[in-house]
C-alpha cells in the first residue's frame, strides 16, 4: 500500500520551550482516515504544522507520498495538502466568500471559466451558497468554519487535515460536515487521505484509525473499537470515550469490549428478548 505520510524520529521544540516531540514516529497509509486526539497542548496542531512545512523539525524526517519534506520540496508537498486551521479567522484572504474559495484555485492555475462551478459546488457542500458575496470577516464563527472547509474541498487535495474544524458548528452543521467527509472518502477511496484533529470522540469514532498522543508520545493507536476499549488509559489522559462507550461502562450487565452505537443498541435489544 502507498504511504501518504511517514514520520520518522521526529524531534521538535518551539524556541524557548520544552520538547513537543521527541523521537516520534507515525505512518499513514494513503486513503486512511485518521483521527488524532490528545489533551490541550499535546502537540496535535504542531504536528499538522510540521507536516505542512510551516515549521521545521529539529530532527527526523517527514515524507509525503515518497517525497521528503525539505526547503526545495516544501512547495510541492504543500500543494497536495489542504488544511483547515483551528481558528478560521487566520485563513481568510478574499474580500468575499467566493473570492476566498477562488484564491486557492487561482494558485492552482485553474482556468477562470471553470471556477464558478467549482466554487458553487464547494459552497453547496457546506451549505454556504447563499453567502457567496458576503465578507468572510462578517460571518458568524460556525459560518467561517464552513467557508474555510469549502476552500479546501474546492482544491481536491490528496490529503486533508482538519484541525478542530467543527468545533463551532451547530449539531446540524457538524453532522453535515461529517456526512460530507464520509461521502468524500467513499468517492475518492485511496485517493483521499484524511486527518481529523478533534476532541469529540463521537467524531473520532467515524475514522478508520484513532491515534492518541500525549507529551509528544503516541500512547494509543488502533481502530476506534481497539482504542476505545482502553477506557482507563483514555480517562487517565483527560479524554473520554464516545457517548455509547461511557454509557456501556455504566450498564449492568455490561457488554464485553467496546461496542459502537449500532452494536450497543442491538446488544440491548437482544438482552431484552
Amino acid at each position: 500500500m502507498t504511504q501518504a505520510i511517514r514520520i520518522n524520529n521526529l524531534k521538535y521544540n518551539y524556541d524557548d520551550n520544552d520538547t513537543v516531540f521527541d523521537d516520534f514516529n507515525l505512518e499513514i497509509d494513503a486513503g486512511q482516515w485518521l483521527a488524532l486526539v490528545g489533551h490541550n497542548g499535546s502537540g496535535k496542531s504542531t504536528l499538522a504544522k510540521l507536516i505542512l512545512g510551516l515549521i521545521e523539525a529539529n530532527n527526523g524526517t517527514i515524507t509525503v507520498f515518497g517525497e521528503q519534506l525539505r526547503i526545495d520540496t516544501v512547495h510541492h508537498v504543500r500543494e497536495q495538502i489542504g488544511m483547515v486551521f483551528q481558528n478560521p479567522d487566520n485563513q481568510f484572504v478574499g474580500a468575499t466568500v467566493a473570492d476566498d474559495v477562488a484564491f486557492g484555485l487561482e494558485n492552482k492555475e485553474m482556468p477562470s471559466s471553470d471556477m464558478p462551478k467549482v466554487i458553487d459546488e464547494a459552497l453547496t457542500i457546506v451549505g454556504m451558497q447563499d453567502f457567496k458575496y458576503r465578507e468572510p470577516h462578517m460571518l458568524s464563527g460556525g459560518q467561517k468554519q464552513r467557508v474555510a472547509l469549502a476552500s479546501v474541498l474546492a482544491l481536491q487535495p490528496k490529503i486533508i487535515i482538519l484541525d478542530e474544524a467543527t468545533a463551532m458548528l451547530d449539531p446540524d452543521g457538524r453532522a453535515t460536515v461529517m456526512a460530507t467527509l464520509q461521502n468524500l472518502k467513499q468517492r475518492f477511496g485511496s485517493e483521499l487521505t484524511l486527518i481529523t484533529i478533534t476532541h469529540d470522540m463521537n467524531e473520532a469514532m467515524l475514522a478508520d484509525r484513532v491515534v492518541v498522543i500525549n507529551d509528544g508520545q503516541l500512547i494509543l493507536d488502533g481502530s476506534p473499537s481497539e482504542v476505545f476499549s482502553q477506557c482507563d488509559v483514555m480517562h487517565h489522559n483527560g479524554l473520554e470515550l464516545p457517548f455509547v462507550g461511557e454509557l456501556a461502562v455504566r450498564l449492568d450487565p455490561k457488554p464485553d469490549g467496546y461496542l459502537d452505537e449500532r452494536e450497543l443498541i442491538k446488544w440491548l435489544s437482544d438482552l431484552k428478548k
Binding site: 497542548g41 496542531s45 468545533a167 451547530d170 476532541h199 473520554e240 457517548f243 452505537e261
Partner: protein, 285 residues
C-alpha cells in the same frame, strides 16, 4: 444583576445600504444569580445578542437593561464604562481577545484598567489563571504561542480577573479537551455559588443540562423559547427538528432505542439517568 431585553432590534450597518437586520423584537430576561444558556443554530444571532449586554453593540431600536443601567441606540460611549466593569465577556475567538506580551500581563490588564494596583492585579490574575487551569509554566509565555485550548483558558482568566458580576461566555467549551470541558462546567457552577449571573452560549446540550437554570433558544434572530432545561428538553421531538436543535445525547439515544422497541419510562437528559433507566428496563424482563 437583572438583565432584560425589551423589543430589541439590531442591524449591522444600520442606516447604510448594507444594513443587515439580525435581531428581531427580542424580549427576554436573564435571571440574576442564575446560569442562562443561549442556544440556536450557527448564525441565529447568539453572539450578536450577548454583545448587547456590555454595550459593545447597541440596539438599533428597543432597550437593554442591566440592573439600573439602560442601553439604547442613544447611549454614549463614555457612559458605558460602568457597564463594562460589571459585565465580563469571554469571546468566541479567544485569540482576538489576547494582546499583551505575556499571559500574566494579559490577564492583569482588566483589573489594572478598572483601577486595581499592580500588585492587586497580579494577585487577581494569578487566582484567575489557576482557576481556569492554566499551568504556571505558561504564565510567562506570549499568549500567541499557546495551543488553542490553552488560549481559550487564558482568555477566560482575562474575563474573570476583574471579578465582574455578570460573566458572559461565548462557546467557551470549543477547543477544550474533555477534561477541560468538565472543569469549565465546574467553574460555571462555582461562579454561580459566588452569586454571579452567568450567560453561556453553547451547542452542547449536555452542557446546558449540566449547568443551566434557564435556556433561551434563538432561531433566525428571534427568541423561540425561554424556559427551564427540564421543560425545554421535554418538548416534542419534531420541534427540535424544526429548530435544528439537538436533544442531550442521552435523549437522542433514548429516541433510537425507542425505534428498536426499547421504551424508557421517561426521556433521560443525562448519561447517568439514561444508564439507570436502561438498567431498570432490562432487569424488569
Amino acid at each position: 444583576m437583572a438583565i432584560r431585553f425589551e423589543k430589541v432590534n439590531f442591524s449591522y450597518g444600520a442606516g447604510t445600504t448594507l444594513a443587515q437586520s439580525i435581531l428581531h423584537d427580542v424580549t427576554l430576561e436573564m435571571p440574576t444569580g442564575r446560569v442562562t444558556a443561549v442556544v440556536g443554530q450557527t448564525g441565529s444571532g447568539k453572539s450578536t445578542l450577548i454583545q448587547h449586554i456590555n454595550g459593545l453593540l447597541k440596539p438599533t431600536s428597543g432597550r437593554v437593561t442591566v440592573d439600573n443601567f439602560e442601553l439604547t441606540s442613544h447611549t454614549k460611549e463614555k457612559e458605558l464604562v460602568k457597564l463594562r466593569k460589571s459585565v465580563g465577556i469571554a469571546f468566541q475567538f479567544p485569540e482576538n481577545q489576547l494582546f499583551a506580551n505575556t499571559v500574566l500581563e494579559d490577564v492583569m490588564y482588566a483589573p489594572v484598567n478598572f483601577g486595581a494596583t499592580k500588585s492587586e492585579a497580579k494577585l487577581a490574575a494569578e487566582r484567575a489563571l489557576t482557576r481556569t487551569g492554566v499551568m504556571r509554566g505558561l504564565w510567562g509565555k506570549s499568549p500567541f504561542e499557546l495551543s488553542g485550548g490553552q488560549m481559550r483558558r487564558v482568555a477566560m482568566a482575562g474575563t474573570l480577573s476583574s471579578d465582574p458580576s455578570v460573566v458572559v461566555m461565548d462557546e467557551p467549551a470549543a477547543g477544550l479537551d474533555p477534561k477541560g470541558q468538565g472543569e469549565l462546567l465546574q467553574l460555571v457552577l462555582e461562579l454561580k455559588k459566588l452569586g454571579k449571573t452567568i450567560i453561556i452560549i453553547s451547542h452542547q446540550m449536555d452542557h446546558v443540562v449540566a449547568v443551566a437554570d434557564h435556556v433561551i433558544v434563538m432561531h433566525e434572530g428571534r427568541v423561540v423559547a425561554q424556559e427551564s432545561p427540564q421543560i425545554l428538553f421535554n418538548r416534542d421531538i419534531t420541534w427540535f427538528k424544526t429548530m435544528k436543535l439537538d436533544l442531550p445525547k442521552a435523549g437522542q439515544l433514548a429516541e433510537k432505542l425507542r425505534d428498536e422497541g426499547i421504551i424508557l419510562s421517561k426521556r433521560p437528559l443525562t448519561l447517568n439517568e439514561l444508564a439507570d433507566l436502561i438498567n431498570a428496563e432490562v432487569s424488569h424482563e
